[in-house]
Symmetry: C2
Subunit: 336 residues, 2 copies
């Protein structure tokens, strides 16, 4: 039998336990070209809040009654395809379930690695998102000031470190004093602001970035984007990799200071990581090298048990994580 987490109903605001159901279903026979994967680790991503909302997006929403869409890694336990054999480690949209039966072309073979779950994090979509944000879109120059929102998150913390590698002054925005300390002491960035504690965020950014903001990495939208806009310099670049403030809402919280984009000749650019599919190889090579050289640190926040995946998503949306949120699905997965 296959334990699966399905969408019971479309969540309003923060997803609640009753928005999900855990069911058991038979796995069924493999068809020609299909592969059966035992799911070991699942990636928990803010974008999953969008998939379950039914909103227009770059991918089809999860229907009510459907298995929650999600990236995962696991081991092939049966294959009806020449492309994979038993024992291979693979990644793909395995979904919130113990076993995933997918056509071979929906899976990616992972190279041998002592920590295959890193392909969900620093060597996967998370690391690639950070890499393209900095290296393809923001392109910060040495000496510029870079402001990063959700800076202690999985993507944000990598962006901060890459900003430092580029010779920038990096200031992070995050939601607790512990995370501020993590950013400045562990990751060595130049400053961190606990946006929940300051009275006037725009003023706090001004104090931390007296020369203004040249590059702003937005993962939030709403008031935080507005506070950043009030501090941008001429020719500032704003990269939007997410709008987490909108994910629990029908419409995103308002932004008011967009006319500064005109007077500051600034650019806002959005992207999804798949836009750079043809550069995954090169990016992963760089990320692996930086990881080996210990130029990149990468934290993980592990939640145990498939049935706890909904609470892992909630934790991420509430910003209670530091680093990458992962669900360890099977009791048989290697220990951390």
């Amino acid at each position: 039998m296959n334990k699966r987490v399905i969408l019971a109903k479309r969540p309003v605001d923060l997803p609640k336990d009753e928005d999900f159901s855990v069911i058991e279903e038979p796995i069924g026979q493999l068809k020609e070209g299909e592969v059966l994967v035992k799911v070991e680790w699942l990636s928990v991503d803010a974008s999953q809040r969008v998939y379950i909302s039914g909103q227009r997006s770059y991918t089809d929403p999860v229907p009510v009654g459907g298995v929650i869409k999600g990236l995962g890694i696991g081991q092939v336990i049966e294959s009806q395809s020449h492309a994979f054999k038993k024992g291979n480690y693979v990644s793909g949209l395995l979904g919130w379930q113990e076993y995933s039966k997918l056509p071979a072309n929906h899976l990616t073979l992972l190279p041998p690695h002592e920590n295959p779950r890193l392909f969900l994090g620093v060597l996967g979509i998370t690391g690639l998102t950070a890499y393209f944000t900095v290296n393809e879109l923001a392109k910060p120059k040495q000496g510029e000031t870079m402001l990063v929102s959700t800076a202690a998150g999985a993507v944000g913390s990598l962006i901060c470190q890459m900003g430092k590698m580029k010779g920038c002054k990096v200031i992070g925005l995050t939601g607790s004093d512990e995370k501020c300390q993590y950013l400045t002491r562990e990751l060595g960035i130049d400053g961190a602001i606990n946006y929940k504690k300051v009275e006037n965020l725009s003023q706090a950014i001004k104090a931390a970035c007296p020369d203004g903001v040249d590059v702003y990495i937005d993962n939030v939208g709403g008031e935080i984007l507005d506070a950043a806009l009030l501090n941008i310099n001429k020719y500032a670049r704003i990269v939007m990799c997410g709008a987490i403030s909108s994910y629990n809402k029908k419409t995103a919280p308002p932004v008011h200071y967009y006319p500064l984009i005109i007077s500051m000749s600034a650019t806002i650019v959005g992207f999804i990581v798949f836009d750079f599919k043809n550069k995954y190889g090169l990016a992963t090579k760089h990320l692996s090298k930086w990881l080996q050289q210990k130029k990149l640190k990468f934290s993980e926040h592990v939640v145990d048990g498939l049935e706890n995946a909904p609470s892992a998503l909630r934790l991420l949306l509430k910003g209670e994580n530091t680093g990458k949120v992962l669900v360890r699905v099977t009791s048989g997965s290697p220990k951390l």
Copy 2:
């Protein structure tokens, strides 16, 4: 004596007559390097609403008691500079006044032209703004759909025509049925929407642009920007040349659908025309040629008399003009 329009107090909402005063002052002696210009024509621009608001912008705000900043053209009547001689036509920030006394390096010598006021319009900032919007930033490709806000305005109507020259399907947004007719019949664009008459602007855009919007030229912000965002295609480019909806307000009206910038991998770029100063020559050459070839039509809305400049600005901000708003300052200026 020199008749001058000064800022009496900072306007709230739409500027009222009592926000301005008309005064008479002696011109005073020319200093070494200064030039005295008899102002003939003034350009009325939405950006002047920003200058008089005291807001942070790319240029210093007009102080209370100061002459209203504004582009104009006129004839040199006295010169203490080798750069200009009596009779020369010049352009520059002459201000809302009959005579302007300025350092020579604040003025630009105009080439001989039968209609020197065109250097305030299609051959000046207006035409250059349209040119750089289309040719440097939006870069529309043949067959793409281009949506233009304030399409019957001075800049918008030029952008529409340049979009057609690039082989785009061009749809204009404007505020009256007469302007819709002007756009489709006179300028030959593919469709026009009277945004004041439609119940749901986003639906109306969808009906007019069934293949989605590849390029959107925004001069408004707020609800109109949101309605456009709801229709953008993958890799859409949005160029902001103005945010007229915000000019009478302390903060701009909200925008909510910015998360579509992420899922559609879109770009919003703002600019001011001075960013492209080093390309003015080439751009003006193109604009002159297109004008001679009758590829560009350019409407003017002339208001007579310096003392009517405040009402000319109000008319522009209310969108009651078709084409470029100009103030004819002196009774001695050539007739239209």
